[in-house]
């Protein structure tokens, strides 16, 4: 998406009349950026600030507050591995290290081909299926180490 297209999309968002004041569109606008750009850059924030009449720094504040927003470049697929208590008790940490081993990255890093970003993540509410992993919007529960390569291949992993 180009910045111009993004600006158009934000304008459309404003026309939805979902909120009684402009500032409330900030999270939806940043979500749109999160989904369409590799990162919510300062240029993206400038567009949001102009369109929503929100001071620049308030846009950056919000973009940097929420864990799901990436202000640094992320991969095409963000793999989130829950290691919070329920998943930890059922092997979440092992899943994380196996994934990192397979992709040869550390938690928080992106593979050199820009395909995957692996994140150690907090509880995603899939505790009945611990350990749980999500890849963008897809979710995987009761994940076993041996099924990880198969999951990765679905997203174009060549390993």
């Amino acid at each position: 998406m180009t910045l111009t297209e993004f600006r158009e999309e934000v304008r459309k968002l404003k026309e939805s009349n979902k909120y009684p004041e402009l500032k409330s569109y900030l999270l939806p606008a940043l979500w749109m950026a999160e989904k369409n750009f590799p990162a919510i850059t300062h240029d993206v924030m400038r567009v949001v600030s102009e369109e929503l009449s929100v001071p620049l720094v308030e846009v950056e504040e919000v973009a940097r507050f929420y864990a799901m927003f990436h202000t640094e470049k992320k991969g095409k697929f963000v793999i989130r591995v829950c290691t919070n208590l329920s998943c930890m008790l059922r092997g979440g940490e092992e899943v994380l290290s196996e994934l990192c081993r397979l992709l040869n990255v550390k938690p928080g890093e992106t593979t050199p081909d820009g395909l995957f970003t692996v994140e150690e993540y907090e509880c995603m509410g899939l505790c009945d299926g611990a350990p749980a992993v999500t890849v963008n919007e897809d979710r995987y529960t009761n994940v076993r180490l041996e099924e990880l390569p198969e999951i990765l291949r679905k997203y174009g992993w060549k390993g």
């Binding site: 929503l52 919000v62 507050f65 929420y66 290691t83 919070n84 008790l89 509880c123 509410g125 919007e137």
Partner: protein
């Protein structure tokens, strides 16, 4: 005790049905009849009275009487008013609300509609945690269906009542489960709690009267309207009645969400409903009300799972999420993981929470890594005491899992210190 009675499924009555998330299935099973009843046969005051009669207390964690909250909101004359559903289910090991809006979203929508009617709210938002994209799709589809059938929008069911409903996605911040932080986030800001008073019922979203109710709370509403508050108040514990969803996870044989009368004993939930401990090991510890509750030992699990009983036992019901550790699990490691979570989720507004969580992480990690000393345990308890003075509930409770673990499993902490390593470490 009422809790012992085998109960019919109420909140989960629809979830096992095929396509339970569609309006057709919901309607076929009597859906939106409560709304019809409320709108056609009851005044808003009647609805509030019925909910007050039911004794329903909020299922988000604080347990505030829902009817009372509605009464306050209804009494406020400022316009417009907003009805917000708190679906920011971020408490670790809690996944009960997800089951409702993914499997029975119309029950939630109907509950919101009835609440909005009772309180005079014109607009509604479901603040959904960002980690639930599937839930978002299901809810948006359900809202679309409800609009199509005329349950949402202008002049609902031919009455003067109009209500518009939207889904607002959070983006990964546990603190937004705190109602004022949720409102800030809805307003497009960092999710940081506000000073109370004023309370949201009088000055919430855009400083207008705003009702914030949890998903599970709202799912109870159609039932109360359908069968009456009096009926409802007879279920479970007398001073906090109703059915309750208990999500159980960790080292049990059958993790999942169990609907049981409020006040069902913890031991019954673990051993009867969740099938007991994996590989029939010994139960070691239970966090009975989510990550911010104080831990209970194996000797303490006969406690009824309701607000007052758990409070008396020195812990809390919170979200009702039960997290079970077995004899092979390290309590220090568990406490560390939980306090790491709170450090990650602290918004940073107030000193005790921002600095206290970090210090606790560093202290507990040092112990877990075998670098601790006995004085560290006293420091942990003292820092916990300071954290009691935090700005909001997050900080006030964040130290609970650590402090309670130190109190109840002091020996295990000391073993770490003496051995200079974690006795449970594999490899």
């Amino acid at each position: 005790m009422a809790g012992r009675v085998k109960m019919e499924k109420l909140l989960l009555r629809n979830v096992d049905k095929e396509n339970s998330h569609t309006i057709d299935v919901y309607l076929k099973n009597g859906g939106y009849q409560s709304l019809r009843k409320a709108l056609k046969e009851m005044s808003p005051e009647d609805v509030v009275e019925e909910v007050k009669l039911s004794g329903l207390r909020g299922r988000g964690g604080a347990g505030f009487p829902t009817g009372l909250k509605w009464e306050f909101a209804a009494a406020d004359v400022k316009e417009p008013k907003f009805f917000v559903c708190n679906a920011d289910e971020g408490e670790p090991c809690t996944f009960k609300d997800r089951v409702i809006f993914e499997k029975d979203p119309h029950a939630l929508i109907e509950g919101m509609l009835i609440g909005a009617y009772a309180t005079g709210c014109r607009y509604g938002y479901i603040y959904l945690r960002g980690e639930y994209p599937i839930g978002r799709k299901i809810l948006e589809r359900a809202i679309g269906e409800a609009y199509e059938k005329g349950f949402l929008g202008e002049n609902i069911l031919g009455t003067d009542f109009s209500f518009d409903l939207y889904v607002h996605s959070g983006a990964g911040a546990y603190i937004c489960g705190e109602e004022t932080a949720l409102i800030e986030s809805l307003e497009g800001k960092r999710g940081e709690p506000r000073i109370k008073p004023p309370f949201p019922v009088n000055a919430g979203y855009l400083w207008k009267p705003t009702v914030v109710n949890n998903v599970e709370t709202l799912a109870n509403i159609p039932l109360i309207i359908e069968r009456g508050g009096k009926w409802y108040s007879g279920i479970g514990s007398p001073d906090c009645p109703g059915p309750k969803l208990y999500p159980v996870s960790g080292k049990v044989k059958r993790p999942g969400v169990y609907e049981l009368p409020m006040g069902t004993p913890l031991s019954e939930i673990i051993y009867e409903h969740a099938g007991g401990i994996v590989q029939d090991r010994k139960l070691k510890a239970v966090f009975p009300g989510g990550a911010s509750s104080s831990v209970l030992t194996a000797d303490e699990i006969d406690v009824p799972m309701d607000f007052p009983s758990l409070a008396k036992a020195g812990t809390m019901l919170g979200s009702g999420a039960i997290m079970v550790l077995d004899e092979t699990d390290c309590i220090v490691r568990a406490a560390l993981r939980l306090i790491e979570f709170f450090r990650h989720e602290s918004c940073g507004k107030c000193t005790p929470c921002r600095e206290g969580t970090d210090w606790l992480v560093r202290l507990v990690r040092r112990i877990e890594e075998g670098e601790g000393s006995e004085e560290d345990l006293d420091v942990i308890l003292s820092v916990s005491e300071t954290m009691e003075n935090s700005f909001c509930g997050l900080g006030m409770a964040a130290h609970n899992p650590v402090a309670s673990s130190v109190r109840k499993f002091r020996e295990e902490f000391l073993t770490h210190i003496e051995l200079g390593r974690c006795p449970y470490r594999r490899g």
